[in-house]
Symmetry: C2
Subunit: 186 residues, 2 copies
Amino acid sequence: MSPTRDQILQTTASLLEKQGCHATGLNEIIRESSTPKGSLYYYFPEGKEQLVSEAVLQAGHTMADRIRAHLAGETPPAQAIYDFVLRIADNVEASSFAAGSPLTAVAMETATTSPRINAACRAAFDLLIAAFEDKLLASGLEAQRASNLAQFIIAAIEGGVILSRTMHSAEPLRVVARQLSAALAC
Amino acid sequence: MSPTRDQILQTTASLLEKQGCHATGLNEIIRESSTPKGSLYYYFPEGKEQLVSEAVLQAGHTMADRIRAHLAGETPPAQAIYDFVLRIADNVEASSFAAGSPLTAVAMETATTSPRINAACRAAFDLLIAAFEDKLLASGLEAQRASNLAQFIIAAIEGGVILSRTMHSAEPLRVVARQLSAALAC
DNA sequence: GTCTATATGCAGATAGAC
DNA sequence: GTCTATCTGCATATAGAC
């Protein structure tokens, strides 16, 4: 794997996170990543759609890995997820509300306007949901209930990120953390 | 109120809902709204930021009114909100996943890049949260708990819309409806 | 209030040298 | 693999007639 290619992907993901797909220009990506301008179309010959799709999918893998790492061990799901959401709240706050969920904006912008990017977003969300689902299954939940709860968890977290970034306050995500762990307990 | 001006605002909101802020061009708005091209800068002399901000805020008022209308009456919150989220699921499905939440994409795109539009998004979310909060207060909940639950409800619904639009399936929103009403019951 | 024409800039993308 | 130069098109915005 080329380090230049990887640098482009990571910078792209970070800009998508901050401002979405259409607001992110290729020139901006080159500039922010301190990457040779000639490299972009060398590594991504199919252009912006390819670049964004790969960045989204890679971000999905990274996030899923982080979720799994955080949920590993014997801590009960309600507690582990509570801690995890609080960590997201801290991270969103630490970024001055410029970061948090690299998928959301892109997913909404492209749900019905770019099949290729939509497919990448879908795959990425599936990775995240599966990460929570496996933890719930491991704790003994029945399959259907684990699947439903995993979707609900992702939805609540995504919504919490939207509110926190919009309000410029970590509070909505902290509320989500508490309510979500309460919901898991019942 | 001018009908032309109102037509521009409504078309803008609908395009923002489908594809976000930066993907929505002023020419596209004129075309889709069948509105005289010369009118745009006549009614919105401060340009796109003004237009988008007003469209977002108007959408917020419309949605808050709809929430209040749906929650009016003596139906307990858990049941009323369950029905309401199912209706959103139907609407998202009926739009072929092109619509659902006119705020989300714009809010994420502009949280740290346009103070003016961000302020409009914040005000719009506050209207939605207050609509749920008032229903919960009316049903006898304590103030702090009503506020927290209202935020959680909005977060879960927003997240459900994202998942449903991305997955091209109403199922995630239906899952959110069930889990949310279960969470409210406990 | 609405029109046409246009200014200006940046977007994504390509070509061909090195 | 990376460079520079450049093509084409559309973006927002403005000017001035009617």
